[in-house]
Each structure stands twice: as C-alpha cells, then as structure tokens.
Point group: C2
Chain length 245, copies 2
Amino acid sequence: MIQAESEAAFLARYDPADYARPALTVDLVLLGLQGGQPAVLLVKRAEHPHAGRHALPGGFVGIGEALDDAAGRVLREKAGAPPAHLEQLYTFGAVNRDPRMRIVTVAYLALLTEAAFTEVLARTPALQPGRVAVPWAGEAGGPVTVLSAGGEVLTLAFDHAEIVALAMLRLRGKLDYSEVGFALLPDLFTLRQLQDVHEAILGTPLNKPAFRRRMLDRGWLEPTGRLETGTSYRPAELFRFRKGD
Amino acid sequence: MIQAESEAAFLARYDPADYARPALTVDLVLLGLQGGQPAVLLVKRAEHPHAGRHALPGGFVGIGEALDDAAGRVLREKAGAPPAHLEQLYTFGAVNRDPRMRIVTVAYLALLTEAAFTEVLARTPALQPGRVAVPWAGEAGGPVTVLSAGGEVLTLAFDHAEIVALAMLRLRGKLDYSEVGFALLPDLFTLRQLQDVHEAILGTPLNKPAFRRRMLDRGWLEPTGRLETGTSYRPAELFRFRKGD
DNA sequence: CTAATAGTGTCTCTTAGACATTATCGG
DNA sequence: CCGATAATGTCTAAGAGACACTATTAG
C-alpha cells in the first residue's frame, strides 16, 4: 500500500520537464597564501540579496557543461588564473540558502600559489582578499572567520562562510597524506617553505626534523642541487615536486 | 578585453530562468552486509536507457526539498528503512552520463545493519542485492565489481559503478578514524563482530590485539556486562556504541 | 578431559617529538 | 670572528604487528 503510493509518487516525478527544477551553480573557494597566511578571493556584492557582503565567485552551470568544466570556466572568467589544483568539495542544497530562488550549488576548492594569488588580486579589481583565521579547535573546524585587509571580521553572503569552513577542513585533512600542499608553492621551494605552508594551513607549529623525514620519505620531493639565493645566512636546498608516480 | 567578454558572458547567464537547467537527482548507495560481505541494494531497470541493467535507487530533487531531505525521502520510498547513517558522497555532473537529458546527480551513502539489509530485501521485491567485491588494490580503490546473487559480474547502469566505487573508497577511508563502522552493526555487538565488519570493508585481515586496543582507547565502546549467548565456546562480551561525546 | 574462541601480556619495530649538534652562508 | 638558519644525529615515547599465553564456555 505504502509501496504502491510511493511508487506512484516516484512515477509522477519521473518526467522532470513537467516540474520546476532547482537552479544549479558552482561556487569557488579560491585559496592561496598572502604573507604566509591562508586567504580567499572574494567578490563584494553590489546587489540584493546580501548587498555589500562578500561572496565566493560563482556562476551557473551551463546545460551542456560538465560540473568540473563549469568550475574551470568560472576560475578563468573571475580570476583568469590557471589553477594548480581544482577539486569538488561538497554540494549545498538547503532550500532557503538563496532568498531569490532555489539554488543548489556545487562548491569547489581551487588552490593558487602565493605568486598567482597576488598577481590575480592586482589584475582583477573585482576581487578582494579575505584572510582566513584558523581557530585551532582541534579537528572540529570551528567557526572559521574571514578578515578583511583592514582586519575587520567579514560576514560572508549566503552560506559561504560554511563553504569556506569546509574548504579549510578538507584541506587540513588532506594536507599530510596527499599532494595538495604543493599546489600552494612555486616550482622550486625549500623544505622550510613547505613546512611554513603546512603550519599556516594547520594553524599549529610542526617539528622540523620529523617534518623533513616524513616529506623526504614520501618520495614526493626531488632534490635539485641548487640552493636558495639572497639569504644572509646559510641557504637552503631547493626541491621540486615530483608528480605522483 | 578578454575580461570584458567573459564578464558579458557571465551577465548573459545571470538570469537562469531564461536558460535551460540541468535536472537534479539524488542517487543512493544503500550499503549493508550480507553474510558478512559488503553488498548494495539495486533496482533492475525495465526501460531504456540501460534496460535490464542494475542501477542505484534514486529520484528527482523537489523544488522545495533540501538535498538531504530528498535523499531521506528516496530512502524511505525505495527501501522503507530508517538509516543508521546517511551522508553525501559526491556530485556527478558529466554531460552525457544520462542519454535522455542532462542530469546532475548528488550521490549519497546510506549504511544499513545486516538485519535491516536482509529485512528490506525480503520486504521489497524491486530491490536486489549486489555483492561488492573489494579488490585489495591498496588505496586506489580499483575497479570495484558488483556481483549478482548468482555470482555473475553486474554491469551497472549509467555511471553507477563509479559511484559505488567511490562509496567504498570513502567508507574505507573513514572507517578507522570515524564512527561509521558502528552503523553497520546492531545495538549490541562483540569486538569480533566489529573487527569482522572492518575486515570486510577493508578487504584485509587485521591484528586482533591491536584492533582491540585501538577501539577501546577511542572511547567509543561502552561495555555492558552482558555476554553473547548460544555459542559453543567462550562467549564474548557485548558492547554498545557510545555516541560521540 | 578436549575443542574452540575470548581476552591479555609482552616483545619488537616503526614513527614522531624533543633536543642538541654540526654545517654553511653573509658580513 | 659572529649571527642566523640549514641540516642532521640521537634519545625517548607512543603505537602497531606478531606471537604466545591464559580464561571460559559447551559437551
């Protein structure tokens, strides 16, 4: 009985052309480093809703466009930067997340090197940086706060604060066992720079010898005999990321 | 120049009511244990496309329905089972994943206890079990194969094989450090049963003393003084899952 | 008693953290 | 030489795997 009813309900829904569909967008967490600290690229909304608030760059998914392609397109259009890393995060589908209409958004995380981040920021007036303050609340990724250049706390539009928090959580979780950390660094880097990136993302200091051992044992690092230049102290060796075997 | 052009392109997309939208569905990986081995609940498709093939239960997302609610509704309608665990997996949005029209699907993972799995299977003729064979390819979650009750390899409809593979990968990744494993067990269980579940999902044998130590140290297990009954050997103590503090 | 499995003690090995020491640059 | 940081050696502590041993049930 219940079975038949639910089957009927399903069949009634089966031709979706007869029913209103949610709109589908992608939103990007464009994450990079600014002065060694994690930061995201935001657009300041001019119109309602949430006028004046900062939001993640995003766009509608074209009818003939794959989700990943839509994310790549938004990345090009909004930032004009080739990403070192682009991955799907999570899909947000609360009914009232946008007051205008029903919009489901697929959130993506894009990682930029510090150089790319500042370059995009300088070239694109529409984008503003938001410093991401990582409250070291252990695992549970506390209420990540985003700060303006001036240091005020920014209230992000829609559910975008939740998306940024999830992005940081995901990044923290993957940092140690995956290769994502290298997407935030230039081609050549020192072990100290790599450790700085990890410490900035994790929000906690790390043990130097242990960090070196782990990273070198992973087999990800290719030593180039070359050394850092321009230091007033002993220069560190430059490494290159060896792409996953 | 390029900037202006892409801005215009974006603005043109901005009112989505004028544009065709992808349809949005949820698909469920209903995972349980059958004879101690991981298995999923599948529906055999009667119509084109992929007629005769097995597919994951799914349904369209209502215009006023949150994604999680849609997943819960499909779970009720298709299986009639209260889930111990329901989590979003990933969103699949390749353009041609469904030949009829553009459909983006949000995949969910639902975990059922062995009792619930067999009960749903007995009550719902539309659902058939598919044994999930875990090829122990280390991390990389090889091409997970799904077998029918008879033992033949099932070719799943659409990209559903990919979804099942991702579900197993996710489950394997979370099993050790999260509480998902308990969703596959009844209220009271022995440590051996818990270890059996972990071994079935991971596809590899585990060390008994180390496993016991880890699980007990986690603080997840509440000893009930009670013992197993009906064994012809020393009965094991029954534990209860202590919900996350 | 035996058979079978639960549960535990202990050893070793690996890995991480802590700390000190040596190495190498600029000036 | 000094100051600063890179790079490394070594000790210790924590956790996992291996293995054997004891405990407890049915019959």
